[in-house]
């Protein structure tokens, strides 16, 4: 590995035992990649299905029941994707932080998180009164969520090519 240089925290992170194991152990890195993929399948898959319902697909399904089913799966996915992502990041943290695809990915994750927070704290609170159609603000949040998550996944893949 080229001499690690960069923020002290990242230099330290790269030198930790788990980061070294990620680089050195023959099958750990690909195994953690598999876990990371399973995590975002759950996180983004469940979120995308809920977004589609908000956008008007499958209107016959009760929105609140669907939220109770799907959103816990999204949270489980988040709990899987964050630690596995941190492990992958730790292996080459100083190099990764310089990667424009990785920087954009972090920004998009932040935006997706704020969008979801804004939606669930605000817009979704009034869902009981919506009836069949979802209001424009909810559709806007759902479309935004879909675009942001596609962007996150695209950046995640592109960071291996930049």
């Amino acid at each position: 590995m080229p001499d690690p240089a960069g923020p002290a925290l990242l230099v330290w992170l790269e030198a930790t035992a788990p980061a070294a194991a990620m680089r050195e152990a023959l099958w750990l890195y690909p195994a953690v990649e598999v876990v990371h993929i399973l995590g975002f399948v759950l996180l983004v898959g469940a979120a995308a299905m809920f977004d589609l319902r908000l956008l008007g697909v499958a209107r016959g399904l009760d929105l609140n029941a669907l939220a109770r089913f799907l959103l816990p799966w999204s949270r489980t996915g988040l709990a899987v994707v964050v630690p596995s992502g941190l492990l992958l990041f730790s292996a080459h943290a100083t190099e990764m932080i310089e990667n424009p695809a990785f920087q954009l990915k972090l920004a998009l994750i932040l935006a997706a998180g704020l969008n979801a927070w804004w939606f669930h704290r605000g817009v979704m609170r009034g869902a009981a009164a919506w009836g069949g159609a979802t209001p424009r603000r909810a559709r806007l949040a759902a479309g935004t969520s879909l675009l942001l998550w596609v962007g996150v996944i695209a950046c995640g893949r592109l960071l291996a090519y930049l």
Binding site: R23, L26, L108, G143, T144, L147, A154
Partner: protein, 116 residues
């Protein structure tokens, strides 16, 4: 908000077309095949890609190899890349980073291993 997101998303896609590729093969000039023989000055048997710093008569190249799990399975153990070993690589130079080469195959200790 929506317009900003569309913009960010567009930027994500545009990056793939414009920025220099580093680890995928697309960043390397496959139209220019180089065969380099030299001494291993430094090596890393690590994920996601192994590498050697290869000291050749004119300069030292950073040669990007394959994931160690693949090299191990194909008969290129860590010891084959020990510092001081003489190896030959066939590969393509990076389009933008001088001195960087992506190896298609490597010959070490009389054993040739495909890396792709």
């Amino acid at each position: 908000m929506n317009r900003l997101n569309a913009l960010l998303f567009g930027a994500a896609l545009t990056l793939s077309a414009t920025a220099q590729a580093h680890h995928g093969w697309s960043g390397y000039d496959a139209g220019q095949t180089l065969t380099l023989t030299g001494e291993v000055a430094e090596s890393g048997y690590m994920h996601p890609h192994g590498y050697v710093k290869l000291r050749t008569p004119d300069k030292t190249w950073t040669v990007v190899l394959a994931p160690p799990s693949r090299m191990e399975r194909r008969g290129l153990p860590r010891e084959a890349l020990a510092v001081g070993a003489t190896v030959t690589v066939v590969g393509y130079p990076h389009r933008d980073t001088a001195d960087e080469l992506r190896a298609e195959r490597i010959t070490a200790a009389g054993n040739t291993v495909e890396l792709r």
